[in-house]
Structure formats: C-alpha cells, structure tokens
C-alpha cells in the first residue's frame, strides 16, 4: 500500500489492529506521515460535523398525490400511444380489407351465375318478377371476364340495367334500354367498347323491354319480357 493510502486508512480508522499498531509506530517516527494522517483525520471529523441536516418535511399526503399523478400519467401515456397508433391501425386494416376484397373481387370477374343473379335481383329488384324468371337462364359454360362496371350492369335488374347503361353511354335526349341501343344511339362507340359490348349482346339472356307506353292502371311504363336481346329491335 502506498504511503498516502496508508495515511488515508490511518486517518479514517479503517485498519485492522495489527496494521494499526504498525502504523502507530510510523506515525510517531515519521512527521510527514503524521501530518498527512492528521489531515485525513480532520477531514473525517469535518465530514462527521456535516451529518446534522434539516428535518425532512415530506408528508405522506404529498407522496400519495405524487403516486396518484404518476399512475395517471402512465395510464394517459399508454392511452395516448394507442390513440396515436389508432389511425395507422385503421389504415392497415383498411388496406388489408381492400387487398382481400380486391382478391375476392378478381375471382368474381366472371359473369355472375344465374343463382347469384337471382339473389341480387331478389334483393334489389323494384319490379316484381316471376320466381322462375332467372332460373331459366342458360348456364354459362365459358366465363366472360368483365370489368367491374360491366359486372354491375350485367347483374343489375332490367330497370337498373337501363339506368346504368344510360349513364355509361349517355347520349343527350336518348334513353338506353339495352346494349344494342348503344350501338344504335352512339355510332361513335369506340372499338374497344364495342369489343366489350358484343359478348354482352351475344350472351344476353332474357330481358325486359320497357316501352314508352304507360300502364293505364298505375301509370308505370309497360314492361315486356323477351328471351334475348338478339331478337329485339330497338328504336328511338
């Protein structure tokens, strides 16, 4: 042990009895060592005098309040973080839902089967149809991949079909009743649109032709059911 460290240990009384006796002799014989050890002893004494301190006045109430506040803060923190992440969670959910629905929707890119059409018609039709109206539709052997708007048009009830077609191929002052009307009314139909229309016409099932004549009983437009649009002549 260094001389200085010995002086520290001696001054702070942190030596074993044997070490103390050895250094006691040195303390008496070595003035420099004695001086240094005395300095440390004084420091020890001065440190001891610093032990008197003012009384702690921290109350139990203050502690209780502090704990309560910290608990509230931690709860707010966890709530706040969940609020912060909530929009992201919603977005993620929406994206996932969009992906799943899009995936499912691509499987529905084929023309809806008659049973499906029947379900849709049963839900949405405004015109009362005979129960076997769509049941007589021929089954589609080769599914046609239509885009979403075409799928909607095909699956729609006749009245909705008319409205949808009118909207899509709008010609001012003219009403569209079927796909053939479009060709007739809108000669500038683009080739790519015609490509989509042809299969619709060719594969068209029974349709209801709504004429301009009104029903004398209720004033509604008259509707006639036909097997297919290919047998129907449309005119303005």
């Amino acid at each position: 042990m260094k001389k200085r460290d010995q002086a520290i240990q001696y001054g702070f009384d942190e030596l074993s009895d044997d070490e103390m006796q050895t250094l006691q002799a040195r303390y008496q014989s070595d003035p420099e060592f004695a001086k240094e050890a005395s300095r440390y002893r004084k420091i020890k004494h001065d440190l001891a005098s610093m032990r008197d301190i003012p009384e702690c006045q921290l109350s139990v109430d203050r502690l209780r309040d502090a704990i309560f506040k910290s608990e509230m803060k931690s709860r707010r923190g966890s709530l706040g973080s969940s609020i912060t992440w909530a929009p992201l969670g919603t977005l993620a959910f929406a994206a996932l839902a969009w992906f799943v629905i899009g995936k499912t929707g691509s499987n529905e890119g084929t023309v809806a089967k008659p049973t499906e059409l029947q379900n849709i018609v049963a839900k949405n039709d405004e015109v009362v149809m005979p129960p076997d109206f769509l049941g007589e539709l021929p089954a589609y052997s080769e599914p046609y991949h239509a885009n979403s708007s075409e799928r909607i048009i095909e699956a729609a009830t006749p009245r909705k079909r008319r409205v949808l077609l009118t909207r899509r191929f709008a010609v001012p002052g003219k009403q569209v009743h079927s796909e053939r009307d479009i060709v007739a009314l809108k000669p500038d139909v683009q080739p790519h649109e015609q490509e989509h229309l042809e299969p619709l016409v060719a594969k068209s099932g029974p349709v209801v032709v709504i004429s301009d004549d009104q029903n004398s009983e209720n004033g509604a437009a008259k509707a006639n059911e036909v097997e297919t649009t290919s047998h129907v002549v449309f005119g303005g």
Partner: protein, 213 residues
C-alpha cells in the same frame, strides 16, 4: 419491599399465538408483500419508516431541502411502481438507497449547477452570519470555513466519488451494504472509497490553504 404491579389487559385476536404475529406483520418484507397486494397503508408505513434514511442521503448529495425532498418523493414513487421487482434477498433499505443512487446522479448534477450559480451570487456572505458550536468566535469561524470548504469540495467531486463519500463517511454504511447498493464487490467498494477520499483531499487542500501532495 413492596412492588407495585400493573395489570395490563391485552386483547389478542382469536387464534393469534403471540406478539410474533404482530411483529411479523410489521416487518419490511410483510409490509412489502401487503403493499404489493394493493395495501397502500402498508407502503405508507414503509415510507414513514425510511423517508429520513433516503432524505439524509439525498440531502448530502444535493444539499437543499426542497431538492432532497423531491428526490425522496421520486425514490418512493419509483419504489411503489417497481415493488414487484424487489427481491427479498436484499434489504429493503438497500434497495431504496440503490434507487436513490441511480436517481441521484442526474439530480446531483442539476443541483450542483444551480448551487454554483447561487454561491457566485451570494459571494460567501452567509458564512459570516453562521453561528458555531464553540464559544470562541475565531474557532467558530475557522470551523465554519473548513466546513464550507469541505462542502464545496464535496459538491465539486464527480458524482461517483461523492456517492461513496456520502454513503461511507456521512451515512456510515458498512462496506458489504455499500457493495450491494453500488452493485460491486466489497473490495471494489473499499477501493472506490479510497479513491474518493484521495480526490476529496485534493479538492479541499487549495480551499483551506494546504498544499497538495
């Protein structure tokens, strides 16, 4: 010789065997268990029992009462929040002081900066107004001067040195307990104390007009 006897009626609850039951319910471990189970009164008892111990340490690290009380409050708040982490193998007081030492580091630095500013403003004028313990005013002044120098030197020490000086020389903690608080071996704790005393001596020497070695 007549002996006056005093008869004391003690009402023991049915099934309670002896005073041991009460003592058991009053031990630190029992209070901690109760506090863990949501008994806040048990935690309050722990607080009342040990707030002075923590306060003493905190005050020596940052000698302002309001700062020290803030530290005590923070130590007990953290203790309450982390009661589930307390392991019975360490004494509860050791655990509290360990929290205090971890917490005290930042607080001490903050307090030291503020204190240095205040001391510059005060210009040491307060030292002349201090009343000492001894009748001799010259001795009083000398003692106060030394005390003030020591306080300055202590505050100027790096926090890790100050921590061990406070624990060992001001709060008189034993080395094994210090080792637990500081998370080191007993030998390591002794070495840290030795180094801190050396550093303190080097700091105080110029303040009281002694030469450094």
């Amino acid at each position: 010789m007549m002996r006056n006897s005093v008869r004391v009626n003690v009402h023991m609850p049915a099934g309670a065997s002896s005073l041991d039951h009460l003592l058991e319910g009053d031990s630190d471990d029992a209070l901690v268990r109760r506090a863990r189970n949501g008994d806040f009164l048990a935690f309050e008892r722990l607080f009342e029992r040990y707030r002075t111990l923590v306060y003493r340490y905190a005050y020596q690290m940052a000698p302002r009462r309001d700062d020290a009380e803030d530290v005590v409050q923070e130590v007990f708040v953290r203790a309450y929040q982390n009661l589930h982490r307390y392991r019975d193998e360490a004494k509860f007081t050791t655990w509290l002081l360990r929290i205090a030492t971890n917490l005290g580091t930042d607080r001490a630095r903050m307090s030291q900066r503020r204190q240095n500013l205040e001391q510059q403003e005060a210009g040491g004028a307060l030292a002349w107004m201090t009343i000492g313990d001894v009748d001799d005013p010259v001795q009083n002044l000398e003692a106060e001067r030394r005390k003030e120098a020591l306080r300055k030197a202590l505050n100027a020490l790096p926090v890790h040195h100050r921590t061990v000086i406070v624990l060992r020389d001001l709060e008189e903690r034993e080395y094994p307990e210090m080792a637990e608080i500081l998370g080191c071996t007993v030998g390591g704790a002794k070495l840290r104390v030795l180094r801190a005393r050396r550093a303190l001596r080097d700091r105080i020497a110029p303040l009281i007009g002694e030469e450094n070695r």
